[in-house]
């Protein structure tokens, strides 16, 4: 049974159809990548899934429950965690305090401390807990954000352009982190970096002009001519680059 099920999801912005009748099913334990050129509607789609944008039409179900009209914080309580496209950490709080805020609904008492330490160790920030989040380098702030996602022990972790602005070495570390998490939680990855997508995703959904253009394994997507045409503007076989 699929964890997240989206049917006919549509969103209009002043006559512009940003998302147009999208169907999407993500199974439990999957690592799904969502790709597409700029303006394809990825962020709008994910905004609707997370409850930040109200859909114009269509339905969504999460874990078998209809969430179409559910507010964000209740979706989070059902087990969705969402890291924003723009870094969002509490700059004036310490690294540990940031993660504690995220963990506090899933654990009680002393369990919070260990959950926080575990999440920080996962992303490799275990020894920087006392630092102010705002003093961390950009790449580390993104890792902190992911730690805040992990600490919520979500059933579905939505990562919106997590490698944007990261250095090469940091991207490799991020890849290891996602592979490590893949056994425990379902991941929806919105990503521009094709190397990352091809290496990490079990299945890929390609969007173009608000619609789902193709869906399949990395191999199938790599070979799909329609994807190459849309995504790369007919740029031939450079799909992996």
């Amino acid at each position: 049974m699929s964890l997240l099920s989206v049917r006919g999801l549509t969103r209009d912005f002043d006559g512009l159809r940003a998302v147009d009748g999208v169907d999407l099913d993500i199974g439990e334990g999957e690592v799904r990548a969502l790709i597409g050129p700029n303006g394809a509607g990825k962020t709008t789609l994910v905004g609707m899934i997370a409850g930040r944008i109200a859909p114009s039409a269509g339905r969504m179900a999460f874990g078998g429950r209809d969430i179409t009209h559910m507010p964000t914080h209740r979706r989070m309580r059902l087990g969705m965690a969402y890291t924003f496209q723009i870094t969002s950490v509490f700059a004036g709080l310490s690294v540990v305090e940031n993660v504690t805020l995220a963990a506090r609904r899933r654990a009680r008492g002393a369990a919070v401390g260990s959950a926080v330490a575990a999440a920080l160790d996962r992303v490799g920030l275990g020894d920087r807990g006392a630092e102010m989040a705002g003093d961390l380098a950009y790449g580390h702030q993104r890792l902190l954000e992911i730690a805040m996602g992990i600490a919520q022990r979500p059933r579905l972790l939505i990562l919106d352009e997590p490698t944007q602005g990261l250095a090469e070495g940091e991207i490799a570390g991020f890849g290891r982190l996602v592979r490590d998490l893949a056994g425990e939680t379902t991941i929806l990855l919105i990503e521009h970096n094709m190397d990352v997508v091809m290496a990490l995703a079990g299945r890929i959904t390609v969007m173009d002009a608000g619609r789902v253009l193709a869906e399949g394994t990395p191999g199938e997507i790599h070979a799909n001519r329609a994807v190459q045409a849309a995504y790369l503007g007919g740029g031939g076989d450079a799909a992996a680059g």
Partner: protein
């Protein structure tokens, strides 16, 4: 009396003012920091704490310590509960709009003041301190055979004044620990930092606001209960604490607890010294002048950060 002992007495008076001011202003600073509400009714909550303390100590007989112990627990709780009710019925309905909440809290101030006048009356009434031993203070004197420790006549203070300083310092320390070390304090600081993001992390912001408003008013009431054995309970007694709290909060930096404490000590001590040597009115004039200078040269306050 010579200048030295006189200065020590002024410093003790100043320390009492500073201690009570630190507590009152932390409440105001907390409410502004977390809720962005400028609470004009803060002085009315202060006054209500003192008046309720008088009612309670009148109602309980026996040793004055019992009545006072009941008052210091019950009065802040009652004032806090009233503030929570005011938040739920008034401020929440205004969506915490900065301008409309100023007008609403001005209204609250007048309602509380008039109800107190109608029930408690216009008299200033004293509350007996739980203990009131007089402590003579030593001072070095030059006698026939050189320097020795003497006890100049009239040079002393009361045990209660020292207790007020100690209790206020302990309470402010406890507040700091609560904010810095507990999970509830963390939730408050996160709400203060970014309300939208706090909501995204499942923090029940409206409940946090109601409790913050109650906590802020409770701190003002607590300060009033401590000071009411020294300064009597009166329905207009909230004016000076309100003015000085705003002075302290603006000088220290809005929403910053360390800045509030530093400014409270600064303003409290200078208020004590200037009041003793010159006049209380001059002390208020200088405090207000300091606010003007801070607003011109360092508008974010000593510890505050500039709005991005």
């Amino acid at each position: 009396m010579e200048f030295g002992p006189h200065l020590v007495l002024a410093l003790i008076e100043g320390a009492v003012t500073a201690a009570v001011l630190a507590l009152t202003a932390s409440g105001l600073s907390l409410v502004f920091g977390v809720m962005r509400v400028v609470n004009i009714a803060h002085g009315a909550f202060f006054m209500l704490g003192a008046v309720i303390a008088w009612w309670i100590t009148q109602g309980i007989g026996g040793h004055p310590g019992w009545g006072f112990a009941a008052a210091i627990v019950a009065a802040p709780l009652m004032v806090g509960a009233l503030a929570v009710a005011a938040d739920l019925t008034v401020l929440r309905r205004l969506s915490y709009d900065p301008e409309r909440t100023i007008v609403a809290t001005i209204g609250l101030l007048y309602i509380i003041q008039q109800l107190t006048l109608m029930s408690y009356g216009p008299e200033a009434r004293p509350v007996v301190a739980p203990f009131d031993a007089r402590i003579a203070l030593p001072w070095p004197e030059r006698g026939a055979e050189g320097w020795r420790i003497g006890w100049p006549w009239g040079f002393g203070t009361t045990a209660w004044k020292l207790a007020v300083i100690g209790a206020a310092a302990a309470l402010v320390g406890a507040l700091w620990l609560f904010m810095a070390r507990t999970r509830a304090g963390l939730v408050l600081r996160a709400t203060q930092a970014d309300r939208e993001m706090a909501t995204a992390f499942g923090i029940p912001v409206e409940r946090v606001y109601a409790l913050t408003f109650g906590l802020g008013a409770g701190l003002a009431a607590l300060a009033a209960v401590l000071i009411v054995p020294i300064r009597q309970a009166h329905y207009l007694m909230g004016g000076d604490p309100l003015l000085l709290s705003f002075v302290v909060v603006i000088i220290g930096g809005l929403g910053s607890l360390p800045g509030t404490l530093l400014a409270a000590v600064l303003i409290g001590l200078s208020d004590g010294i200037i009041s003793v040597f010159f006049s209380p009115t001059l002390a208020k004039i200088i405090a207000t002048l300091m606010v003007a200078l801070v607003l011109v040269f360092r508008p974010q306050g000593l510890y505050g950060t500039r709005a991005p």
